[in-house]
Symmetry: C2
Subunit: 308 residues, 2 copies
Amino acid sequence: MTAVFNQIAIIGVGLIGGSIARAALESGAAAQVVLFDGDANALKRAGEIGFGKPAASIEQAVSGADAVFHCVPVGAMAATARASIGAMKPGAILTDVGSVKGNIARDWRSLGRADVHVIPGHPVAGTEKSGPDAGFASLFQGRWCILTPEQGGSAEYVAATDRLAAFWTKLGSKVERMDAQRHDLVLAVTSHLPHLIAYNMVATAYDMEAVTEGEVVKFSAAGFRDFTRIAASDPTMWRDVFLNNKEAVLEVLGRFDDDLTALRKAIRNGDGQKLFDVFTHARGIRREIIEAGQDTAAANFGRDKAEE
Amino acid sequence: MTAVFNQIAIIGVGLIGGSIARAALESGAAAQVVLFDGDANALKRAGEIGFGKPAASIEQAVSGADAVFHCVPVGAMAATARASIGAMKPGAILTDVGSVKGNIARDWRSLGRADVHVIPGHPVAGTEKSGPDAGFASLFQGRWCILTPEQGGSAEYVAATDRLAAFWTKLGSKVERMDAQRHDLVLAVTSHLPHLIAYNMVATAYDMEAVTEGEVVKFSAAGFRDFTRIAASDPTMWRDVFLNNKEAVLEVLGRFDDDLTALRKAIRNGDGQKLFDVFTHARGIRREIIEAGQDTAAANFGRDKAEE
């Protein structure tokens, strides 16, 4: 079993960073993993769990790495790259796992290391948990990993992109290359806006707790429980997503709002046909997603109990 | 094992009706189950599955029953009750499983059978599946069943309510008695609005499919997938919920919309602190729900794979 990379560096040992480290070691995609985290306790814990070798500084962490994975909130990517890019080996890969791709490549390329291959990435995988103990090796199995390399790079850059794709494939991911702007629009629809809506619904409900004397929690039904699970995701990560994917999120939010206004009017006017038509339309995409293998049609998708 | 009811009638043999029939027979809560459905194929299928004895007419179905369960969409409750109440035994219980309680008791009491006990009910349980084949006996295990009996009824009425509560308890439910108006407000928060929002998000995304050339389906991430599952629920049932719980839904929707406008402004203005505060606040209710035993904190709550 040949490793894709002899050594990788993981900057940020939370759910994603920890899972990459563990999956890389278990799959043999990397022979060695060096870790760094600005939070000394998290770094220590990651070393104890066995994610790799903790480094004393971010420069030391990246200095021997063939690929450096920045696994920090989107808003912290610029700082961690700036702090470490000078210590990177010539020909090494600089990549990340952020949910927004937009300008990160441009920012990183402006840091003055033309001999480093900047290849942003986004494994579309995760749970609502955070921290080193949330990481597990199978997180990326069967999930997409989107890479947004620059167009028309050198032969060496293309070869580096292929190596990074091979790494993610070895972790179990399906790899797709995509334009960064398109990535940000697609993810605004499939991930960012649903999270915003879920956070908002849960916050609204929380404020209704007073009105309902605790009965919102007591009788929380399936629809709402799913929202609260989504809204349990890391606030810092999601704050940064919305600050950094502003245009796409506001565009999709505008459409969502127009559609919601139409539904509100239908309810107010007792227009059952409009409601029925929208609900039936929405049902169709579910079938497409199941056919695309992105979810299961099993009655309770593995839950013990079903509920409404 | 003594049956709570010698004979019950199930009007409407879909997910809920079928599950009640099956659970009543398996638990021994009812000695006999008689079925009726306006859809002859569904009725035949329910008989084949073994949900009980299909009746030739709705009158025949209810004539020997100690309790009649109307398990049809909220908008059809008035018609099925009107069609069958004349054939009910004196002292029998007239109940339902609808997600809106509001005026159903008043409507039913106006049908001129003071000798029939009108006790509306709502098992807070279900899946996104519909039809007789979706029914299963354990659907109500550990879930709440809310009864909305009238205040200050006769001793006979109170005894009938106790019998109905005992029936649901035997099916595994936790029974709660509640004022009908409060039920409708609480459920508007915990179930009705989340479904409306999910339907709307999915419809918006579906319309974005053209913009994104199929990539919304291909890269549907966890937040969005949960929404599509919720939005796969029965359109007729949900149309009726929104038509019949208009005031409470519009009230909660108004609050949701105000909160969403504030979030939109925060994104537009780059106000990270506001976003962080709302997200952190929303996270709190998740903990309360888990502490209330309404959901599990397990990383993937039984799913094979975790995803973002």
